[in-house]
């Protein structure tokens, strides 16, 4: 082969290499979103007391499948995390086994971060000490954002 052909083919090879890489990266980017995010109510919830709960916990953001999740009634203290003992199980790799706890109070609902690895956000502020949540307040664990509400969407 002539030197000119070899010279051209050298660049052709580099171009082909980068085309292959582009195809691989495209395939990689396509399935970056995590598929297995899910909020599952605990399999053995405590027996519901007579009076209806004053607050509900609604997952509002994080994954398309979360949109039609049932809101979780808050009767007593609710443990949120990745572990099997939690009332709200969050299959998010950024959630700790026992990530956070919410406890109903007279004035609202108390949110407490249980020294989780990746922390909890109330709105956009990290939760350091327990904070009181009121109607419409949101908090975020991993990729999932929850909202406290008195009137759950059906």
């Amino acid at each position: 082969m002539s030197e000119l052909t070899l010279f051209g083919l050298k660049f052709a090879l580099l171009a082909v290499l980068y085309l292959v890489l582009a195809a691989l990266i495209r395939a990689l980017v396509r399935d970056l979103p995590m598929p297995a995010l899910d909020v599952v109510p605990s399999p053995s919830p405590r027996p519901a007391p007579e009076e209806p709960p004053r607050f509900w916990l609604q997952a509002v953001e994080g994954h398309e499948r979360l949109a039609d999740r049932q809101p979780v009634p808050i009767h007593g203290a609710v443990l949120i995390g990745r572990g099997g003992d939690c009332q709200v199980r969050l299959l998010d790799p950024f959630a700790s086994v026992e990530h956070a706890r919410i406890v109903p109070q007279a004035c609202g609902v108390l949110l407490e971060d249980l020294k989780s690895t990746n922390g909890t956000l109330r709105g956009t502020v990290p939760v350091v000490a327990p904070v009181v949540l009121e109607e419409g307040d949101t908090f975020t664990i991993g990729d999932v954002t929850f909202q406290m509400t008195r009137s759950p969407r059906p």
């Binding site: 070899l6 090879l13 580099l14 290499l17 890489l21 691989l24 598929p35």
Partner: protein
């Protein structure tokens, strides 16, 4: 694009590279095209067999490994055609190992039961090669049976990761006592484990005089410890302790001093001790941005170009852009391995895939940094790319394990 399409695309690129390398070589060299066809059909039939057996998994792992092993093979063939023929055979055997592992190991969680067995086998192999191994180039790293050489280190690494993943999973809570709940108390158990790991790494460093292996072991151990406990301070302290031990090794052993000297100033003794490093630097510089073109450079002037310095050979003939492409391919492979770790349904899977990910990451980083004079050169192989049977079989075993974990999501 689906897995077979990506595989075919990768093979087209490798085929073009092989064509260029062949056309620049003398006509008397053995023809590579039979091997190339067998390899191409091999990759596709492994994919087909896995699909028939309904073994799922990350569809990017095989194309990435195919690209790395293909480019490595073309370079080895271009440097030493007869070695290239053998490398093709090793890739084929590696593919068979990959297929067998993927088909037989239906549930990777069962490996967790063999944690102590893998520790004992790994330590025994390592001790045996240190005592009875064949010495090549001043290092006792090989077993020799007739014509065949076997480097047990490659297997030992995988066994150690299996053990560490199972052990850290099993004793995660036990280790965390004193780490989180009661602040101020010394985390004695974690410190004990870190101390043992540190001793093992220093032991490899002192007994085997192998800085690369010690660094690799410490890197994997500390990263996996971090993944299990999440303690940055302890990991940093142990890392600092290891650096201290390595510095002590530098002051004590002449063998290490020679390597560090050859690293800091290879041109001081360019005809002798710094020969390899300075040749490698000339080679890299000659490559420039676009390279000399495959088969048109002279990377064979670098000693051990087909094994330790294969990255330099590729960088000379494919240029800076080609070298970056190879680095990106390694990055993608590590990203996919971490993705499998993040999505694994259990902690063992997370630690196993994470450990294998850092193995690939650390090993390629240590070797490539050594060949481009970023750190002292240490003789370990580049996964999938370097010439070497043990290394190739180990790489394909890692690939099978990663695919298995990624399939369990």
């Amino acid at each position: 694009m689906s897995e077979p399409v990506l595989l075919l695309l990768v093979q087209a690129a490798v085929g073009l590279a092989l064509f260029l390398a062949r056309s620049a070589m003398p006509p008397g060299a053995p023809e590579p095209w039979t091997s190339a066809t067998v390899l191409g059909v091999g990759w596709l039939s492994v994919w087909f067999a896995l699909r028939r057996a309904r073994v799922g998994g990350d569809p990017l792992l095989m194309p990435l490994a195919c690209l790395l092993s293909g480019l490595g093979w073309v370079m080895v063939y271009r440097l030493q055609p007869d070695l290239g023929m053998r490398q093709a055979l090793w890739i084929l055997i590696g593919l068979a190992v990959f297929l067998a592992n993927s088909l037989l190991l239906r549930d990777y969680r069962r490996l967790e039961e063999y944690k102590y067995l893998s520790l004992v086998v790994g330590v025994t192999l390592q001790a045996a090669v240190m005592l009875f191994g064949t010495e090549i180039n001043g290092a006792r790293l090989w077993f020799r049976v007739g014509e065949l050489q076997f480097q047990p280190v490659e297997l030992v690494k995988i066994l150690l990761i299996l053990f560490l993943a199972a052990f850290l999973r099993r004793f995660q809570l036990w280790l965390r006592v004193g780490l989180r709940s009661r602040e101020g108390r010394l985390p004695r158990r974690a410190l004990l484990l870190l101390g043992l790991g540190w001793l093992a790494a220093e032991g490899v460093l002192i007994l085997q005089k192998d800085l690369g292996m010690a660094l690799l072991f410490m890197g994997i151990f500390l990263t996996m410890f971090y993944m299990a406990t999440g303690r940055t301070d302890l990991v940093l302290a142990a890392g600092a302790l290891f650096v201290g031990g390595a510095a002590l090794g530098y002051l004590t052993f002449e063998h290490v001093q020679v390597r560090v000297q050859a690293w800091l100033d290879p041109f001081q003794d360019a005809q002798n001790r710094g020969f390899q490093m300075s040749q490698a630097l000339f080679s890299l510089a000659w490559g420039g941005m676009f390279g000399t073109g495959l088969g048109l450079g002279q990377p064979d002037r670098v000693p051990e170009a087909a094994t330790d310095f294969v990255f330099v050979a590729l960088a000379e003939e494919l240029g800076f852009l080609g070298a970056v492409a190879i680095l990106v391919t390694f990055m993608l492979l590590v990203t996919r391995a971490f993705r499998a770790a993040m999505r694994a349904p259990d902690e063992f899977g997370t630690l196993l895939a994470g450990g294998l990910a850092v193995l690939i990451a650390w090993q390629s980083l240590i070797l490539i940094a050594g060949t481009v004079k970023l750190m002292p050169m240490t003789g370990i192989t580049l996964p999938f790319v370097s010439y070497g049977g043990s290394s190739m079989l180990a790489s394909f075993t890692i690939l099978a394990l990663l695919r298995r974990v990624s399939a369990a999501c």
